[in-house]
């Protein structure tokens, strides 16, 4: 009950944050050097009429504050209630419209729909891989403190933390794709597509290929996360195991296994959740590089492309959407935190 209310609260609180992201991104993108129309017409000696026409098409002829109202989608509301001067205002962010990409000549929101899922797939599998490997290893290291298993895992973690993900990606490609030829080196197979799109006979084969294509980029992106999570899990578990409530459980004859699984484990996941929430940001940066290395058509590549081509609307749209994804990620970690630690949701409710 407390948890449900907490969840609702967190989403409501996120609205102003998201609005802030939209405002700041809009201002930042508008202060980028270089006029998008000039870049678009780089090679041609355009007439003022042509420039005028293009500016009108993309709404760049309006003053900045009107552009902003258009972008957010306020103008559209004003148009609906017949506010003078906003008669044919276009829909905006609030209506789910992110404008038109100059480079692709397509609505930005369409591009998001095809580019966001691969990035989410990559990031979620990388974090899943990191959690599934790091948590048992961290617990193991904590229980075998200062023994060989602990030393080995700590060295592995240290290497993982200090090796750049793109380098790991390149090495994985060289080894597993080029040398051994076991796994594909690039592009993803999307499980939500029809198998025939790739020429596969069955859904099962589609899933199988999805996994095969995901393995290398997932490991490349997930290694850093695995290493950091493992370190935190280890120290947090060591701390929990020394807590008075663990001693109490021992004093009442609870077995060491149950103490590990229940009494010490759950409280020690709090720092891990915090870490995962924080790392979502850095992982977005990592995902950009991994998408380049593995030729994955995700948000990261799109963002870089849009910056290179001065695709004004697309830069704006991609940045805002990445920002929103990040906010949602933070909310989910907060909820996970509240689920583990009752003090969080209850404190918020009152």
């Amino acid at each position: 009950m407390g948890l449900l209310r907490y969840t609702l609260n967190r989403f409501l609180q996120a609205i102003p944050v998201m609005f802030g992201i939209a405002v700041i991104t809009f201002l930042l993108v508008n202060s980028m050097p270089g006029n998008p129309v000039d870049v678009m017409l780089a090679e041609q000696d355009a007439s003022p009429e042509l420039i005028q026409a293009i500016e009108e098409r993309y709404g760049l002829d309006e003053p900045l504050h009107i552009q902003f109202l258009n972008y957010i989608g306020f103008s559209w509301f004003l148009a609906q209630i017949g506010f003078p001067g906003f008669a044919d205002a276009p829909p905006g962010l609030l209506q789910g419209d992110l404008g038109l990409s100059m480079y692709y000549e397509r609505p930005v929101s369409d591009l998001m729909l095809t580019r966001l899922p691969p990035t989410l797939l990559l990031m979620m599998s990388a974090f899943a891989f990191a959690l599934v490997t790091a948590i048992p290893l961290g617990v193991l290291a904590a229980t075998r403190r200062n023994q060989p298993a602990d030393h080995v895992s700590r060295i592995v973690a240290l290497i993982g933390v200090s090796t750049p993900s793109f380098w790991i990606g390149i090495m994985l490609i060289i080894l597993f794709s080029v040398q051994l030829g076991w796994l594909p080196s690039g592009r993803l197979v999307y499980p939500w597509r029809d198998p025939s799109h790739y020429g596969y006979g069955s859904t099962l084969e589609l899933y199988y290929q999805t996994v095969r294509h995901l393995i290398l980029p997932m490991i490349a992106l997930g290694t850093l996360q695995m290493a950091t999570i493992m370190r935190v899990e280890r120290s947090s578990m060591i701390e929990s195991l020394q807590k008075e409530y663990v001693k109490l459980a021992r004093a009442y004859g609870v077995s060491e296994r149950k103490i590990l699984r229940k009494h010490a484990f759950r409280p020690s996941q709090l720092p891990v959740v915090t870490l995962v929430g924080l790392n979502l940001t850095s992982a977005i940066g990592g995902a950009v590089l991994i998408e380049m290395v593995f030729s994955i058509n995700g948000m990261g590549r799109l963002l870089i492309q849009s910056i290179q081509t001065h695709d004004y609307q697309l830069v704006l749209g991609t940045t805002v959407v990445i920002g929103f994804v990040f906010v949602i990620g933070v909310i989910i970690t907060d909820i996970a935190y509240a689920y583990i630690d009752p003090r969080v949701s209850y404190g918020e409710g009152s």
Partner: protein, 357 residues
């Protein structure tokens, strides 16, 4: 003699710290008889908690029980043998698994001193009480839950059934302490070790708890080791009492004897430092100075630097812990003070009191 259930002999527990070895418990002997409440009193840092943890073999790194015997109803909880070079655990000493399955919780339960840290913050209060009851008694999950609610009610948690699902942070310190008490009582052990279980409680609630303890004793014949600072509580519930100072027991005997025929200056000082109805605050005499570190205890009698009665021999000679007075029912009354030994105490000069005020 009534049957002894717990016998602790010359128990020694040390902590190996960076700044040296802490002899937290340094040769402690006492016993507990069936149905008896035995007090363990002494200043902060005397080694009371370490003694109780050692009895259940709960001492953790960097600490270790290094010597002595703990015998519970014929079973060896702690026991060593001398191989000539070193002390090694004896074969009949209970294994870790036996301690876990046969002793901890179901035969001997402990109430920890710190109520704020002893409950797990991420599980419900009732669930934690229930878990231990279920583990240590032949009850189904449902029955264990009912028992947990019943125990919570008996220790004075209002609306126990409603509060069963609350989390520890929703309970006050005193309520958490009562939860810990309910846990121990609910497991129906034969012996309960209570480490200052009522210090966070107000006098009314403390009174209720002490009454509950008396009831339980009558009902189930449960024995208690009651650790406390409070001589008033000792007078109220204990049958016998052990006075601890710096890792050792300095006086031991029936409560009446300890109060009315005090044999050790430290006990005397303790009794003089507590408020009593027949005295005003001005009459209180706090014990001078502070207890020295257990890393380098004073030579001779450990209390001599603070003892108002100290004389020359106290500095060099370590007093033996021996029978010092006849008691009405023949129970032992022991103390370790040179006044009771033939070492020339009475002929020697008093020591200058060296404590700083």
């Amino acid at each position: 003699m009534s049957d002894t259930i717990l016998e602790v002999t010359d128990l020694k527990t040390q902590f190996y710290t960076e700044r040296g070895v802490v002899r937290a418990v340094d040769g402690v002997s006492f016993d507990v008889k069936q149905g008896e409440i035995v007090g363990l009193v002494g200043e902060s840092g005397a080694g009371k908690s370490v003694t109780t943890s050692s009895v259940l073999r709960l001492i953790e790194e960097p600490g270790e029980v290094v010597g002595g015997e703990v015998d519970y109803m014929g079973r060896t909880i702690v026991g060593f043998e001398d191989t000539g070079e070193e002390l090694v655990p004896r074969d009949e000493m209970l294994t870790e698994a036996q301690m876990r399955d046969q002793i901890r919780g179901n035969e001997i339960a402990i109430i920890f001193q710190d109520p704020m840290e002893s409950l797990n913050p991420v599980y419900t209060v009732g669930g934690q009480v229930k878990e231990f009851i279920e583990l240590n008694r032949d009850l189904s999950g449902e029955e264990a839950k009912e028992e947990a609610i019943e125990m919570l009610r008996r220790v004075g948690i209002p609306e126990a059934a409603e509060r069963y699902g609350d989390y520890p942070h929703e309970f006050s310190g005193g309520m958490r302490q009562r939860v810990l008490i309910a846990m121990a009582l609910g497991c129906r052990p034969n012996l309960i070790i209570a480490d200052e279980p009522t210090t966070a409680l107000d006098v009314t609630v403390e009174g209720q708890i002490l009454e509950l303890v008396n009831d339980l004793q009558a009902e189930f014949g449960t024995s208690f080791i009651w650790v406390t600072h409070d001589m008033g509580v000792v007078a109220e519930i204990c049958d016998r009492v052990n006075v601890m100072y710096l890792g050792q027991i300095v006086e031991q005997g029936p409560v009446d004897e300890i109060f009315h025929d005090t044999q050790h200056p430290y006990t005397e000082a303790l009794l003089n430092s507590i408020p009593r109805p027949d005295r005003t605050v001005d009459d209180l005499e706090p014990i001078e100075g502070t207890m020295p570190s257990a890393r380098s205890p004073p030579s001779g009698c450990r209390f001599h630097p603070r003892c108002p009665d100290a004389r020359e021999p106290c500095r060099e000679i370590e007093p033996a812990f021996e029978q010092v007075a006849e008691t009405a029912d023949g129970a032992a009354h022991r103390a370790s003070c040179l006044k009771h030994e033939e070492v020339g105490y009475w002929e020697a000069e008093p020591l200058e009191v060296e404590v700083e005020k």
